[in-house]
């Protein structure tokens, strides 16, 4: 996105997605995640390039495409004086939903909104508002759903339920979902593929597992009981990063060096009572991207 008076946020972005795919878009703050979603919703005009959804050009078929899409964002509020029911009712009219009452009853049940149904949006908690936003996004049973931080401000139990709900939408109804989130485990569990944005460009585009594999380092956690000084010397000698919290060591080490390092611990008579090895995950990859900015 650019122009004579604007700072470009997205500088080059080309991607496609399959029907029934859950695609995550990750990136540090200001990387262009929300901007990307806005462009996909037609509420931000790109200065160049084309966006095709359902094989149609968004610029010329916006209304037709958006009939089969929907979105939910924590950054967008619903009219706060209207009740939950009223907000979903006017939304249902926009999409000309057949059997509107039945559909709204289903939505009410699916998103556990029975108690809040006749309450104004203004009186709801942040988590309840997020649930209403998500409910509104499902009013038209969209083929493509854009979710911007869908579980932000939800309590863990509801967040897990919502994640399961959207996974089912894909598994049962073959719905496509584009998701942005700062919750890495959520993205890792839900998404088939992840695009990492950095400074308006694609930095990574692969499955969460493959992105994690690009990180060579594991975290070795030890509860050390003897020969701390020897361990500190060894860490310094091998030039490793480590954190020592009351003799609980977390050492960042390349995976292929692990066997040798463990052998050296035994050789130097360094004793420990607990050991665990954390394999690299999506969060490690994300942290690497964030640090390189």
């Amino acid at each position: 996105m650019g122009g004579k008076n604007y700072t470009p946020v997205i500088k080059g972005l080309t991607f496609d997605m399959k029907e029934g795919e859950i695609l995550g878009i990750l990136g540090p703050n200001g990387a262009g995640k929300t901007t990307t979603l806005q462009m996909l919703l037609g509420i931000l005009t790109p200065t160049s390039g084309t966006i095709k959804v359902f094989d149609k050009d968004l610029a010329t078929h916006k209304s037709e495409i958006l009939e089969h899409m929907n979105f939910s964002s924590t950054y967008v509020d619903l009219p706060w004086r209207l009740t939950v029911k009223e907000n979903l009712t006017w939304s249902a009219w926009l999409y000309n939903i057949p059997n509107r009452r039945k559909r709204l009853d289903q939505i009410k049940e699916l998103f556990r909104l029975e108690k809040q149904w006749n309450m104004p949006i203004a009186s709801l908690s942040a988590g309840q508002k997020t649930r209403v936003n998500l409910a509104r996004s499902m009013v038209n049973f969209p083929s493509l759903l854009l979710l911007d931080e869908p579980t932000a401000s939800l309590d863990p139990e509801v967040a897990a339920y919502i994640r399961e709900f959207f996974a089912n939408q894909r598994n049962v109804y073959n719905k496509s979902i584009i998701l942005t989130s700062h919750n890495m485990s959520e993205v890792e569990n839900l998404c088939d593929r992840v695009i990492i944005l950095k400074d308006g460009l694609i930095y990574g585009n692969d499955t969460p597992a493959n992105l994690a594999k690009k990180i060579e380092f594991s975290h070795l956690r030890l509860r050390v009981t003897k020969n701390f000084a020897e361990l500190d010397k060894l860490i310094a000698l091998r030039k490793l990063e480590s954190i020592n919290d009351a003799n609980n060591y977390t050492i960042t080490i390349k995976e292929q060096l692990l066997p040798l390092f463990l052998y050296e611990l035994t050789k130097k008579n360094i004793s420990y009572t607990e050991i665990s090895i954390d394999k690299p995950n999506l969060e490690d990859y994300f942290m690497k991207v964030a640090k390189t900015i």
Binding site: M1, G3, Y6, T34, T35, Q38, L41, G42, I43, L44, T45, T47, K62, S63, E64, L66, E67, N70, F71, S73, Y75, V76, D77, L78, P79, W80, R81, L82, T83, E86, T89, W90, S91, A92, W93, L94, Y95, N96, P120
Partner: protein, 261 residues
């Protein structure tokens, strides 16, 4: 353009109206206060013998007819402002809604609310002062249409400015019609104005409506041919205002709707 979408947007504004005391006050309280004050003033003037009985109908008719342009403009700009205050513009336009459907709905909301206020004010006028605006006859109906269109013109003009520059200039929503009212001749003949202001009035289409109303109140007739020039003028303004609001919308799409506040 799809009727079901217009119905959806209309419902949204209707629900907001029934939950918002400010909007209900605008519809009923202010017309009531205006009628009360001006009705009593004109009664007093009649009682002093300094003026004729027709002054009551002329003044109250002016107040009641002014509801159309005032509400028409107000509804368009305040509806936009409420969407901006609620960070809600995205919820509207990230849906299949066409910009033209939103525009048409705001025009319909303006007609609906001004009609309710008009009926309420005319009944109050009959009840308090036995003055019946409907006695002016249906010949004034096309003139009322012109008043509504003028309200839309100002509504779109102000909305287009607010879209570009944000809520920091929101006071225009309340000011704009007040600025134009002296030149509209709502309560007095245009001839009362100084000559430079009369020149301005010639370019204000609604001034012809209030002149026509006073002619009818005084027992004369307002031929439909007198409507041609103000209608053409208003239509030109309407096209310009539509062009401005569409170009403002396209401009804010370049910045992103989420950035408008």
């Amino acid at each position: 353009m799809k009727i079901h979408r217009i119905r959806g947007i209309f419902l949204r504004y209707f629900y907001n109206l029934i939950h918002t005391y400010d909007r209900l006050t605008d519809m009923f309280f202010w017309p009531f206060i205006d009628l009360l004050l001006w009705g009593l003033t004109s009664r007093y003037l009649v009682s002093t013998g300094s003026t004729s009985n027709t002054i009551i109908l002329a003044l109250l008719g002016g107040i009641i007819l002014w509801i159309f342009p005032w509400r028409g403009q107000y509804e368009i700009t305040v509806s936009l402002l409420e969407d901006l205050w609620n960070r809600n513009l995205v919820n509207l336009f990230a849906t299949p809604i066409l910009f033209s459907e939103w525009i048409v709905t705001l025009m319909l909301v303006g007609i609906f609310k001004s009609s309710v206020s008009f009926v309420f004010a005319s009944l109050i006028s009959i009840f308090l002062y036995a003055t019946n605006i409907y006695s002016l006859g249906i010949s004034l109906l096309p003139w009322a249409g012109l008043l509504i269109m003028f309200g839309w013109v100002f509504g779109f003009l102000i909305a287009s400015i607010i879209m570009r520059y944000g809520t920091k200039i929101q006071t225009l929503a309340w000011m704009s019609m007040a600025i134009i009212s002296p030149f509209a001749g709502v309560y007095y003949p245009i001839s009362t104005l100084p000559s430079w202001a009369q020149t301005v009035s010639h370019w204000v289409p609604v001034s012809y409506v209030f002149e026509a109303m006073r002619t009818v109140v005084a027992g004369g007739t307002a031929p439909i041919s007198d409507l041609i020039w103000p209608f053409v003028l208003c239509l030109i303004y309407f096209v310009v205002a539509l062009f401005l609001i569409i170009s403002s919308y396209q401009e804010i799409l370049k910045r992103g709707l989420i950035s408008v506040e």
